[in-house]
Amino acid sequence: MLRRVLMSLTAVLLGFYLATPPVSAQSLDEFENKVTEFTLDNGLTFLIIERPVAPVVSFATYVNVGGANEPVGHTGMAHIFEHMAFKGTHTVGTNNWEEEKKVLKDLDNTYQEWLSEKYSTQPDSAKMDKLWTQFENLQEKAGEYVVNNEFSEIIDRNGGTGMNATTSQDRTNYFYSLPENRLELWFSLESDRFKNPVFREFYKEKEVVREERRMRSESQPIGRLIEEFASVAFTAHPYGRPTVGWHSDITATTMEDAREFYNTYYVPNNITFAIAGDVDPQETKKLAEEYFGDMKEGPKPPPVYTKEPEQRGERRFTIQGESQPFFIMGYHTVAQDHPDSKALQLLGSILSGGRTSILYKRMVEEEQTALQVSAFNGYPGQKYETLFATLAIPNQNVGVDTMETSILEEIEKVKNDGVSQEALDRARTNARANLIRSLDSNSGLASSLASAENLRGDWRKVFTDIEELNEVTIDDIQRVANEYLTKDNRTVGAIVTEEDNSSDEEVADANN
């Protein structure tokens, strides 16, 4: 049970194939009958998807806030809040909220004083030590009121499965499934945690988050590579910052910051719930009013103002590492709802989706230079202007320059000669089939519909995207390749093995 923060590239890939594929209009009609949509007066939107295959029901909560929304100095905030959402409420996870609240207040005050001293021009280390001791004492005292993991335990013992949450650059989602007779339990717990959040065990959980950062971004070569890649590719837009946060920002984040973040973004008009399975829409609507009706309205959260300025020239970086080599390259492109994103999506599929794709055939099968190669539009996110990224893992006897040469050559061919109609048709067919196959689980349905509704304003986009995919021509593919995949617009990064042959031989020569 891992709460994922930064989707690995493979997960991104998978998400890419499943997120926006098309299906026939007939399916949309079918779904119009299965989906009940309503919005409460306070702005909360619910999607109910009837699918009585088994007596179970899946829940997906999407909040339209992610890493990209974080204020400067607080990278990692969205993710830390996500962790806090499992810490309980005023009644869950505590044996005495009244008392606990007071201690938590003192605790945060003390931490803030410590922080302020730490960042003062001439920090007084004696004062810092004293504050830290005080902080640790308060933390221990606060711990006496904690009923450990009670929130998730309630879900567990009621038969909950698949409980988890993830934070990406674009959004935060929370999900689990229950036996259908426990529907009301979900309403009770979900409304409680989003109406009455507590920042229980906040500072301990930040240490958990640091371990998550060490695991994903520091102790794995691919994690190091993609973090560096995003931060080189983006100079202004927050997509360049890691969702898991920088260590210094994690240190600087307080409970008060988390509270402010919650007040700004966890407002009803920014949240969508989807419930899929053996569920009655009328009963559900009643429960929604009962449990969520009193959630306070809030102003529309502020947009992300910063746009990535036009790139003035190619950017490159190399990490000398102990691992085998990796290669990554990306071009600035468009956001998901831009008309060109469909052509870019299909281009990615034509280049690397399946055994017939251009890069797979050449690099994996024929020349046998790559163990894996992938290309897709949508890293590090999809909501804002993003990157068309390619990732290649070279085979044993091959360097990263070969990856770059082959990929660039194939991109040039697309730019000069275009792609075949057959390849385009195949990419569309597979996108359609992938969508159909994703519709046969409650959790998949709840998640994809909630996501489209929450981030793009309409769950129907899951289905109507097909019209747009059908409109894409081979000329469009060639056009977007020429427009976006240019030298000045790209970032190229690699891990190369520091213990390479030449240094070995250098030593060998010298010692004989």
Partner: protein, 690 residues
């Protein structure tokens, strides 16, 4: 900064007032849940054809898809240690190589044009072939599926591709600490030569031939070894007919006997370490051998397992993650496999400095299970978890089918899950403690840590003598290790002549300092180097990336580039050491330990040499000693080149010998790799014992 702006919203106050009488009633506690909606578990229709295939069918009309899955009695366990990887490559190439009627390229295009997939694979305990198609494509693609199942062509080029990919994966297997940890823990528990703990290696891949693949496939992919499951949008009666007509034609064949060797496990406690200097977090696994699925205590042990490591509610997560904040990921499992014993393990990923603290916390929790009984509440919670979530066991048609197939394959009754549920219900507090005492052995845990030695320091020493595991990837062609037999007496004679020529008998060589330049691929790089015998090197090279200084001594060292200091990777330290050991001066100094064997004369470039084989670090090195000067003009050895994935022959040619202070040194050294010159070093001076 001291103001605490706790925004008290209205809802918060409402909640507080509910709380004021301090009865701590949570809304969820008073919730009455209605009866679960009636659920008819879908019936699985089965029949068996004359040639011995049993079919399992479930109709599912929700989407216009049909999925076929054939399970085949075979597996990697059948492979010998010499050909580890054979099953996996067979499974890959069955599909990637296509058939005579459907060669790879046209097969791929045909399937992808229809958004259909046919995939094959062979795992450790079974093989599988699946077909996933839109229902309208079923009739067209069923013959294709059967052809792949029974008539794969195994073309050489696709075998080579699969082997190349396997080797690339092998070369990458030490990049990720989690992958290292899990793999090496298995080797620790089952033994590295056991089928359960062994690795696929370059050499075992090299040993596999096309004939092996053809034979392995023929032996196992016959009707008598198959079970077929079909789920999707079809009519059962029509489908049965189609299956009879197609699968009914297959040869019955010999029934495969899957043999699972006994695990010879000796209870022991051990502390093992694997160095990974580029991480700042330790990956820890600890545990011992687990059990078998058919153990009558299965349900009780799994209840105990849940108490310890059942997700967020498990004690490990509660304590190590939530209370102590030591980890994001902490996990455990009492593995009870069907065919051979599983492993009991618990693991954690924690920053280097808290490695021992996290290990201790986990061991405490294991001991606690034995020492005190679980509370009534805890047991009830775990039972509720299992019982209330049991409805998810059959929440899709695919799951119903795959569970049925899986039970049949493993020889479990069709109602194995229901029996397990009954066992959980019957489990008592005493049972949990009893099985903890019987099946857990906290006194005999094997601990494995993958992490950063410098950061971890001496934390592991309290667990015992730390066994450092070398995970260097074995190079193929180690047949070179074989003893070379020649004339030992003459060998000794020639080697002593060589030693006398390069080190004057009055000189005691302690160190040598060299200066010169290296010439590689047309780039000239100034270089100085001091070697202190027997085992230290200090070297500075001015390369294209600026000055690089390497300081090595006794197995480890550091590298300084652009003012930044890093420890050198273990593999590089190892290379430095073996390079030093096979240098002619080291050989001369150790001439009594290298087993010289005279192999006759060899002519090279018009000169005649005495050919002497010596053994250094278990490898053979050939010296060509000039019959007049007695200088070792050529040193020849084989080395694994990881870039090329094979052995290459390296020759160092020495000329322009100069003698200073009793030590002779060649001022021109040329390196040849498989006969091609790859670089040279030109020296200006050498100094002795400075």
């Amino acid at each position: 900064m001291a103001v605490f702006a706790f925004a008290c919203s209205q809802t918060e106050q409402v909640a507080d007032s509910q709380q004021s009488d301090n009865t701590s009633t949570n809304p969820y506690e008073n919730m009455d849940f209605p009866e679960l909606n009636n659920f008819q578990k879908p019936e699985v229709e089965t029949f068996t054809t004359e040639n011995g295939i049993t079919f399992y069918l479930v109709e599912d009309k929700e989407l216009p898809l049909i999925n076929v899955s054939t399970r085949v009695r075979t597996g990697g366990v059948l492979n010998s240690n010499e050909k580890t990887g054979l099953a996996s490559i067979t499974g890959t190439v069955m599909r990637s190589g296509g058939t005579e009627t459907y060669p790879a390229d046209s097969l791929n295009a045909m399937l992808e044009n229809r958004a259909a997939s046919i995939e094959t694979g062979i795992g450790f305990t079974s093989g599988n072939a699946s077909m996933d198609v839109l229902k309208e494509d079923f009739d067209d693609l069923l013959p294709v599926y059967l052809d792949i199942l029974t008539n794969p062509t195994f073309p050489e080029d696709k075998i080579e591709l699969a082997k190349t990919q396997q080797k690339s994966s092998i070369s990458r297997r030490n990049d990720d600490p989690q992958q290292i940890g899990i793999r090496e823990f298995q080797a620790l528990i089952y033994g590295e030569d056991s089928p359960y703990g062994r690795n696929t290696e370059y050499e075992t891949i090299n040993n596999i031939t096309r004939e092996d693949l053809v034979n392995f496939h023929n032996k196992h992919f016959s009707a008598g070894n198959m079970m077929v499951g079909i789920v999707g949008d079809f009519n059962t009666e029509e489908m049965k007919q189609k299956l009879r007509n197609s699968f009914g034609e297959l040869q019955n064949g010999d029934k495969t006997q899957l043999k699972f060797p006994e695990v010879d496990y000796e209870s022991q406690s051990s502390i093992n370490f694997i160095e990974k200097s580029d991480v700042n977090q330790s990956f820890v696994m600890l545990g011992h051998l687990g059990g078998l699925r058919d153990n009558p205590d299965y349900a009780k042990v799994q209840v105990m397992n849940r108490v310890l490591s059942g997700g967020f509610s498990g004690r490990l997560m509660q304590v190590v993650r939530t209370e102590m904040g030591l980890a994001y990921s902490v996990f455990g499992q009492y593995g009870m496999n069907s065919f051979y014993p599983g492993m009991f393990y618990a693991g954690v990923m924690t920053k280097s400095s808290t490695t021992a603290e996290a290990i201790d916390a986990i061991i405490d929790q294991i001991e606690r299970l034995q020492e005190e009984s679980v509370t009534e509440q805890e047991l009830q919670d775990v039972k509720d978890q299992i019982l209330n979530s049991s409805v998810f066991e059959y929440d899709s048609y695919e799951e119903v089918l795959s569970e049925r197939l899986s039970n049949e394959y493993r020889g479990l009754p069709a109602d194995a899950f229901e029996q397990y549920i009954e066992g959980v219900k019957a489990t008592t507090i005493e049972d949990v403690q009893e099985v903890a005492q019987e099946y857990l052995d906290p006194e005999n845990l094997q601990i494995l840590v993958v992490g950063n030695k410098e950061e971890i320091g001496d934390q592991l020493e309290k667990y015992g003598d730390v066994n450092e595991i070398d995970i260097t990837i074995p190079e193929p062609g180690s047949g070179d290790k074989q003893m070379v037999e020649g004339d030992a007496e003459k060998g000794e004679e020639w080697l002593s002549k060589m030693a006398g020529a390069v080190i004057d008998s009055d000189t005691e060589l302690n160190s040598i300092s060299l200066s010169g330049e290296m010439n590689m691929q047309g780039r000239k790089m100034p270089m100085t180097s001091t070697i202190t015998y027997p085992d230290a090197i200090e070297q500075t090279i001015n390369g294209p990336m600026g000055e690089v200084k390497v300081i090595y001594e006794d197995g480890s060292g550091k590298m300084i580039t652009g003012g930044q200091e890093r420890s050198i990777p273990p593999q590089m330290a190892k290379n430095l050491k073996s390079t030093l050991n096979r240098s002619f001066l080291s050989i001369a100094l150790n001439s009594d330990q290298v087993n010289p064997q005279y192999l006759g004369e060899e002519e090279l470039d018009g000169s005649s040499y005495a050919k002497v084989n010596v053994t250094v670090d278990d490898s053979n090195i050939t010296l060509l000693i000039d019959t007049e000067t007695h200088y070792p003009d050529v040193i020849r050895y084989k080395q694994f080149n990881p870039q090329m994935g094979e052995q290459v022959t390296i020759e160092n040619h020495h000329s322009e010998w100069h003698v200073v202070d009793g030590i002779a040194y060649p001022y021109l050294q040329e390196t040849m790799v498989d006969g091609n010159k790859s670089g040279e070093a030109v020296y200006k001076s050498h100094e002795v014992n400075k």
